[in-house]
Amino acid sequence: MHSNSVGRDSFARYQLAASAGILVLALSLIGAQSSPQSTAPQGQTQSQVPAAAPQSGQPSPASQTAQVAPPVATPPKLLIMIDPAHGGTESGAVLNPTILEKDITLALARRLRLDLGTRGFIAELVRDSDVNLSTDDRAAKANAAHPVLYVCLHATSESGGTGIYTAMLAENGETNGPFIDWNTAQFSFLPASRTAQHEISEAMQKSGMPARSLSAPLRPLANVTSPALAIELAPTKADVSLLSASDFQQNVSTALANGIAQFLSASGAPR
């Protein structure tokens, strides 16, 4: 008799624990479903990137249910991903026997990171040292960070002004639910990329530097799921050593930062 009552009590406790577990699970599921990032297709979420970038510091609705304190209302910092092209054994163009493209792009990328930082943005480099990275790795790193803009830096010895490039894409690839075609991942972001191209081109020309806007068959632009540009630094006259000059690099960096700030401001992105 006594053992029967103990058995019933423990059965009741198990039932209670199971019910509580199911309730917690149900609440978590409801919370997860109400999260816009989990339900919206990737393309839609990404297309809103300049206006509302993914906020790493903001708690998810699921965790909000567990928290007592209200969420901290800090404005999100916008992330710009800067990719100094080439690196490691892949030196890029040999601009002259002592100047390699990989070194120029890294130096300019570091300057641009500083200039964007002073304007209230967060800028990260895809590589911050002399390392080999494939174009797929670069795109994967940029896509994982969900930047509001991806800027790939190049340099050439051919004079004729700075080139500002968007991806050359003829048509959109196959999209299957949240999965998009790697080779045409940039397609839905092309209009935003062209707006950024226009703003940066204007900023360069305002600074007295000739700039050309073109599209180019250049990886990894086509694989990036955010507005994406490639910027090819070129000497304004047939003097390649100008590319490594501190003043020249600083002028380019300032103009680029102004153009990027203008693009993000036009997109309504907060700082």
């Binding site: 080439h86 892949e90 890029g92 163009a93 040999v94 493209e101 190049h154 340099a155 050439t156 010895s157 051919e158 004079s159 004729g160 002004g161 080139g163 490039y165 050359m168 003829a170 080779n183 050309r212 806007s213 073109l214 599209s215 180019a216 068959p217 250049l218 990886r219 086509a222 490639a230 090819e232 070129a234």
Partner: protein, 198 residues
């Protein structure tokens, strides 16, 4: 006394050994000759043949980063494939000339052009073509736009162009322009327009 049957067997085996030696020696000689034949095949540009024709080619100008349409007279054969090869070889003769506006090394060649229906051209260039290419987004784009736009202007049925290097797919032309996919002729026409409008 050696048995007769044993003697016959030894003679037959000896004859077989000599025959095998001769056969192996001939195989060796053939193997030595074959690399020389391959080397000869590398000179793929045949002497120009066919009637002289006036055609439009798109020439890259490095100085201003431009692409300009230019009319030249070259001998062109009647066959579609030979015609495509003739067009690009005519263009290459401008780029390998001494006063070229978009210099490529002297050994740069178009090995072959394959036309695949519907509307695909596969252009096979040699490694000297790639080695002589100036590295950079714009210089490489100029080369590709020049090749594709020249072909497309003279062969209106063309829709896509693929570029191979020594018969194999290469990742980029000289570190920048992507060679892993097909070039859409309409897109290159847009780029050519942008490059001509500078």
């Amino acid at each position: 006394m050696i048995p007769r049957q044993f003697l016959i067997t030894v003679i037959i085996l000896f004859a077989l050994a000599i025959a095998m030696s001769v056969y192996v020696w001939q195989l060796r000689r053939r193997e030595i000759r074959s690399p020389q034949l391959t080397e000869k095949n590398e000179h793929v540009a045949p002497p120009a043949s066919g009637a002289m024709e006036r055609v439009t080619v798109y020439v890259a100008y490095d100085s201003g980063g431009e692409l300009r349409a230019q009319s030249i007279s070259i001998p062109l054969a009647a066959g579609r494939q030979q015609r495509a090869e003739g067009l690009l070889r005519g263009l290459m003769s401008l780029y390998t000339a001494k006063d070229s506006t978009h210099p490529l090394t002297a050994g740069a060649e178009i090995r072959q052009v394959f036309l695949v229906d519907p509307g695909i051209a596969v252009v096979d260039v040699n490694s000297a073509f790639v080695e002589g290419q100036v590295s950079g987004v714009l210089p490489e784009e100029l080369t590709i736009a020049s090749l594709v736009q020249t072909l497309a202007t003279n062969m209106p049925e063309l829709a896509r162009v693929k570029i191979l290097v020594d018969g194999k797919e290469q990742e980029t032309l000289a570190g920048h322009a992507d060679l892993t996919g097909f070039y859409d002729v309409q897109q290159i026409a847009e780029v050519a327009k942008q490059l001509s409008a500078q």
